[in-house]
């Protein structure tokens, strides 16, 4: 069997979709509803993992691997790292709004995004369940090779622009973190760090 083709197995795929979809939705609800930030971050990992499973079910193996390595393995680890270092805990009052009208705006944006995605889904003819709707994958190559070729030929400009953007953000972060000290300035005091869980 050539690489990249897949015998269509509707029933197992449906089961996979239902299970992974349930993990994604429950995880997403957990991110929003759980009061403890670390639990919310873990729910986010569950969501990302469910999305990775859905990618595998759609034959997008590389995207699945990248999803787990980059998002679950690096970005959420960074979230957790920050939560641990800053010691955010349940004692923080969730009723205080640091940004005015943040909650209603978030609600509007959330409903708006949901509506937009539903509209685009129905305009495109609804969910068919078939994979690779826009373009059939080339059966002679792995999707890694195809993705790589596209990135470095057709989308080379976007790729390089992203690289420059990331470099700029790193330089910016370094600039913000390391300011040259003013002569005679007092040594910055250590912040008190609250570790672990509030009992």
């Amino acid at each position: 069997m050539p690489v990249g083709t897949m015998v269509v197995k509707p029933v197992p795929e449906l089961v996979t979709f239902i299970l992974a979809g349930a993990i994604v939705v429950i995880g997403a609800l957990g991110v929003v509803l759980l009061p403890q930030p670390v639990h919310a971050a873990l729910s986010l990992v569950a969501t990302l993992f469910g999305v990775a499973v859905l990618f595998v079910a759609q034959d997008a193996h590389l995207l699945a691997a990248v999803q787990v390595i980059v998002y679950a393995g690096a970005i959420v680890v960074l979230f957790l790292f920050v939560i641990m270092l800053l010691g955010v805990d349940e004692a923080d009052d969730l009723q205080i709004e640091p940004i005015v009208a943040q909650r209603p705006l978030a609600l509007v944006a959330g409903v708006g995004i949901l509506g937009l995605s539903l509209v685009s889904l129905f305009l495109a003819g609804g969910a068919t369940g078939a994979s690779s709707m826009l373009m059939a994958p080339d059966a002679t190559e792995t999707n890694i090779a195809q993705l790589g070729r596209l990135l470095f030929t057709e989308y080379a400009f976007a790729f390089e622009a992203t690289a420059i953007l990331l470099t700029i953000s790193v330089v910016g972060a370094v600039m913000l973190a390391r300011r040259a000290p003013q002569d005679g300035a007092p040594y910055p005091e250590d912040e008190t760090v609250q570790s672990g869980v509030a009992s």
Binding site: M1, H39, L42, H61, A65, I144, A185, G196, V197
Partner: protein
């Protein structure tokens, strides 16, 4: 892709797959048991001690005895622990450790065959899974394994475990970059991500075709160092530095939950060694002779285990010889040495590959890229020196 699944999936194929799952599971457990005993025995020899010698011949059953003991001990849950996460963390450490091993090819005749063996009339690879993303699957699993350590330290609600896990996450995330870059060097040479394909690409001649030679040794060395750091093994074991952190992230754990962390750690060591063998030393390939059963079963397995034990010994040797790094030395080594080195080497390999494809003169292309890399190294050194000057100036201002 595994030829087992080429003709559709029937009952026999499912049963063979289940058998492979079972064998892989038991194998990882037994290998871990062996590794624990091996490490204690070798380290004891290096320190002029006898080591375990009570349970079984040469104390080989000591791990089994310890495991049984841990299983029956009381499971403590600290008062301040976050109950759910505290219970989840050991599982998150051990499951990826099991899964990561599934992509390692253990045997099969790659030298003059296609790497398949025959089980009950079906041709199949002697590895549990051969996903198209191969090595990336291993990286993904080791990325998930970080959560076990991180969450264990945080959920204990105690300061030393928290310090241990903060160190662990910083260390693992830092060294993952160097690890990934040396993996890319291998992928560039073999042109495939599949572990099976990587072994097949280095099997024609024993030794000469290994990626160790084809990538020019440097990625293999970087991978070994970064891999040791990923495993939190000495000399990079700041995570559980006994003198500073009691026991590090697992201080508050006892009984079977502690045993799971212990298991995961040694299992990861075995998997990391197996991965180095697969990526740089041709996995199970080696000289084969004799009848079919020797050619595709016995000899490849023998070569694989020989190479595996070599690296297991190297890890124990590191532990017996090298003193632990300081935290700033650890970060300096990762960010200022290993990442620039593996990145530069990757560019060099890519240049050679392009020169071959385009029909340029390879020595001239190499010379030019070496000059460019030398310039980049000089710039890096300058910036490091400038940074140090700034730090010293800052210290003077605040003094």
């Amino acid at each position: 892709m595994d030829p087992l699944y080429a003709d559709g999936v029937g009952v026999a194929v499912v049963l063979i797959t289940l058998l492979k799952v079972l064998v892989a599971f038991v194998f990882t457990l037994v290998a871990t048991m062996f590794m624990v005993w091996f490490e204690r025995k070798i380290i004891a020899d290096m320190q002029h001690r006898i080591g375990p010698n009570r349970a079984g011949p040469w104390g080989i059953l000591q791990t089994l005895a310890d495991g049984t003991k841990l299983f029956f001990k009381e499971d403590l849950l600290p008062d301040k622990a976050d109950r759910r996460v505290f219970r989840l963390a050991p599982v998150l450490a051990v499951v990826p450790a099991f899964l990561a091993f599934s992509v390692i090819p253990l045997g099969g005749n790659f030298t003059d065959g296609d790497g398949t063996v025959s089980i009950f009339g079906h041709r199949t690879f002697l590895q549990l899974a051969d996903p198209p993303v191969g090595v990336l699957f291993f990286l993904a699993m080791s990325a998930i394994g970080v959560y076990g350590i991180m969450l264990a330290g945080w959920a204990s609600g105690s300061k030393y475990p928290l310090l241990g896990s903060v160190r662990a996450s910083a260390q693992i995330v830092s060294y993952e970059a160097a690890l990934g870059l040396s993996v890319v060097a291998v992928l560039l040479v073999t042109r495939t991500l599949s572990t099976n394909g990587i072994v097949a690409a280095q099997s024609a001649r024993f030794g000469v075709d290994w990626n160790l030679v084809a990538t020019g040794v440097v990625p293999a060395v970087v991978f070994l160092i970064a891999g040791t750091a990923e495993l939190n093994r000495p000399p990079f074991d700041l995570v559980e530095a006994e003198q500073e952190l009691v026991g590090g992230f697992n201080t508050e754990y006892s009984s079977i939950r502690f045993a799971l962390f212990f298991l995961a750690e040694f299992m990861n060591t075995v998997t990391m060694s197996a991965l180095i063998v697969t990526m740089f030393l041709g996995g199970p390939s080696g000289p084969v002779f004799g009848p079919e059963v020797m050619r595709s079963w016995f000899l490849p397995l023998f070569w694989f285990f020989l190479k595996l034990v070599l690296f297991l010994f190297t890890f124990v040797w590191f532990r017996g010889t090298l003193p632990r790094l300081r935290y700033d030395q650890l970060m300096d080594l990762g960010w200022k040495v290993l990442i620039p080195l593996s990145l530069g080497w990757l560019l060099l390999l890519a240049t050679i590959r392009v020169a071959q494809n385009e029909g340029w003169s390879v020595p001239i292309a190499m010379a030019i890229s070496l000059v460019v890399l030398g310039g980049a190294f000089g710039l890096l050194n300058l910036s490091l020196r400038a940074a140090r000057r700034n730090r010293e100036h800052e210290a003077e201002v605040y003094a």
